[in-house]
């Protein structure tokens, strides 16, 4: 009996690691945008939701092949991210931080309602099911493994982009010193716009993985949003490596907590851990002292 217990626990841990990769990708865009523009996109979960619906619509209604649907979906949400910055964030860039936060809250309502108007409140899925891999008594869904691999690859590409390319270097420079960089010939307005587009693209990339695992509905963004905020804060807002590690910590709490109790309790434990951790290390788990 105790043997069986351990195997299922191991399965929960493995699923937690896979889920962590997904959460790491989900929070990457949010974290990047905060690090560079210092605005929290409360509507980030809704961008993911829009990405999921665009892929579903292109694939199921228009009839694009799935990879093409995903590519167009990513480009669309990248544009949406840039538009969000240009038309909504830019006017409040010098306003109170709380107003910046709230204006994206307005976008949250707007996008949720837009999805309700266009697609209704029924649950939708793209109807693609991949088999599960079994290894002895442990079974892991193939979609989760693909999701994990793609997430890690995407994070690696983003990292290389930020550290090796000119634009990436400019993005990092702006986030470190936003008063000096304009003097060095880096135009902050362009960098903000590019960063927002990348943030949108990363959100939609996450949607590509989510459509394989979850049914979509207009309020699905609210299911992810709060978890992503606590991951970003836990890793230290704007700290990409910290956010990456925090995603795995939180995912482990959710997965193993959900194994011992109900899935809601897994989340409760994760949120409670977050609050405790913030009290002990206010600048994030991995901040340098």
């Amino acid at each position: 009996m105790s043997h069986l217990f351990d195997v299922y626990l191991l399965e929960a841990v493995i699923n937690g690691v896979l889920f962590g990769g997904l959460l790491a990708l989900l929070s990457l865009g949010l974290n990047l945008v905060f690090g560079v523009i210092e605005v929290i996109w409360i509507c980030y979960g809704e961008l993911i939701m829009v990405g999921m619906y665009s892929i579903w619509w292109l694939f199921k209604v228009v009839g694009f092949p799935l990879p093409l649907a995903m590519l167009v979906g990513v480009l669309f949400v990248a544009l949406l991210g840039a538009a969000l910055h240009q038309f909504i964030i830019r006017p409040v860039l010098n306003a109170d931080p709380i107003n910046q936060l709230l204006v994206t809250g307005g976008v949250l309502f707007f996008l949720q309602a837009a999805a309700t108007v266009v697609f209704g409140i029924e649950y939708r899925n793209i109807g693609v099911n991949l088999p599960s891999l079994s290894l002895g008594e442990i079974s892991v869904s193939l979609t989760r493994i693909i999701g994990f691999v793609v997430a890690i690859a995407a994070i690696a590409v983003t990292y290389v982009f930020l550290s090796r390319t000119y634009v990436g270097t400019a993005i990092r420079a702006i986030s470190q010193d936003r008063t000096v960089m304009p003097l060095m010939g880096v135009n902050p307005a362009t960098i903000y716009l590019v960063t927002s587009a990348i943030g949108g693209a990363l959100a939609a990339l996450a949607s590509c993985l989510l459509v394989l695992q979850y049914d979509m509905h207009p309020a699905i963004g609210l299911a992810f949003g709060p978890v992503l905020f606590i991951i970003c804060i836990l890793g230290g807002l704007g700290n990409l490596v910290g956010g990456f590690l925090a995603a795995f910590v939180i995912a482990q709490f959710i997965s193993v907590g959900g194994y011992f109790f109900q899935s809601e309790w897994g989340y409760v434990i994760a949120f409670a851990f977050f609050i405790l951790a913030i009290f002990i290390r206010p600048a994030g788990l991995f901040a340098k002292r």
Binding site: I40, I42, I88, P91, V92, A95, D96, P97, I98, N99, L101, L102, V103, G105, G106, V107, L108, F109, F110, L111, Q112, A113, A114, A115, T116, V117, G120, I121, P218, L222, G225, P226, F229, I230, I233, L237, F261, Q262, E264, W265, Y267, V268, F271, A272, F274, I275, I278, F279, P282
Partner: protein, 340 residues
């Protein structure tokens, strides 16, 4: 201005006696309850303590009275006290470390948001008791023919509810006034502007902030109870989700955070907006009203960050604020001429 306010208040207070319909009366009650809740939020929000956790307090309040009544058979009077004590305990557990460790701004907002999620998830997880996302209804206590049960806080007449809501709303404004007038108000202003300076003149910042947060949380929990008893139906979506917290913050910003009646104006505005959109557009197209609502909120925050009432007052005050200074100049000149 003040006189006009009293006239409006008197008109509102006698309105139910003049036999206005059930629907307008219902809208007035809901507006009063939310106005009170928004006011409770703004008591701490105006100090820069922007909380997304008020839906947690609202949820604890609402669910504790209903659960105490349904499962334990406790009167809402007693369940209410338990609910408020529980809310204060949660607010203390969250608030005290935040203020001690100087967790402010975005961080404070997200910590309170995490607290709100915990409460919502616990309500969902205890679905055997709370009904989960299906919600819960307090067991009816009114026997056939009876119109009210004071011990169960259930009234069949909306007029009674109206006067309860009116009194609670007025009490909320009195508390706001009282916080304004009491010494701690000066301390609070000092804190929100210059935290270090306030500390240096011997103000215990953490304690003042904590007191205000407890006050605000307790008031909000009471609002949740009132809402639950009046609507006699609650679910996690309507009292305890992130959208409720956002709604509260929006309403207050839309009305004006720094004026006493700002939250009230915001609540009335939001309610009027959503009801008008609902009635005009109807229900054949789900979500259109929410769509316009979201768009208007965005425009509001971009173009009118001081809120409706804040903006209006600022416009009206151009004259009064210049008047005293000219009076002062005159008297100075006069004393000058007298002197020579």
């Amino acid at each position: 201005m003040v006189k006009l306010g009293w006239i409006i208040l008197a008109a509102v207070a006698v309105a139910p006696l003049l036999g206005i319909g059930n629907y307008p009366l219902h809208l007035m009650i809901v507006a009063l309850i939310w106005s009170y809740i928004y006011t409770s939020w703004a008591i701490m929000g105006r100090l820069g303590l922007v909380s997304f956790g008020h839906c947690a307090f609202l949820g604890i309040g609402a669910y504790s009275v209903v659960l105490a009544w349904n499962t334990l058979g406790w009167s809402p009077w007693f369940g209410g006290i338990v609910g408020i004590v529980a809310t204060l305990a949660v607010a203390f557990l969250i608030g005290w470390p935040c203020f001690r460790f100087k967790i402010v701004g975005h961080y404070f907002a997200v910590v309170t948001l995490a607290c709100a999620e915990i409460v919502r998830l616990i309500i969902m997880a205890l679905r055997d008791q709370t009904g989960g996302s299906l919600g819960i209804t307090p067991k009816p206590a009114l026997a056939d023919g009876a119109t009210m049960s004071l011990s169960a806080m259930q009234f069949s007449s909306k007029v009674i509810w109206f006067y309860i809501a009116l009194c609670v709303w007025l009490a909320g404004l009195v508390v706001w006034r009282w916080v304004d007038r009491s010494m701690s108000r000066i301390a609070l202003l000092a804190i929100s502007e210059e935290e270090e300076a306030a500390a240096s003149i011997g103000i215990d910042i953490s304690r003042v902030k904590m007191a205000i947060m407890l006050l605000s949380a307790g008031m909000t929990a009471f609002g949740g109870m009132l809402y639950a008893q009046y609507q006699s139906y609650i679910n996690p979506e309507t009292v305890s989700s992130l959208t409720v917290s956002l709604q509260i913050v929006f309403g207050v910003i839309a009305g004006g955070m720094f004026v006493m009646l700002g939250p009230t104006v915001g609540a009335i505005f939001l309610l009027a907006l959503s009801e008008t959109l609902r009635v005009v557009i109807g229900s054949q197209l789900r979500g259109i009203d929410q769509l316009i609502y979201g768009a208007m909120l965005i425009l509001f925050i971009i173009y009118m960050p001081k809120g409706i009432l804040g903006e209006l007052l600022e416009r009206f005050q151009v004259k009064p604020s210049s008047a005293p200074s000219t009076v002062l100049l005159k008297t100075m000149k006069e004393t000058d001429t007298h002197g020579t």
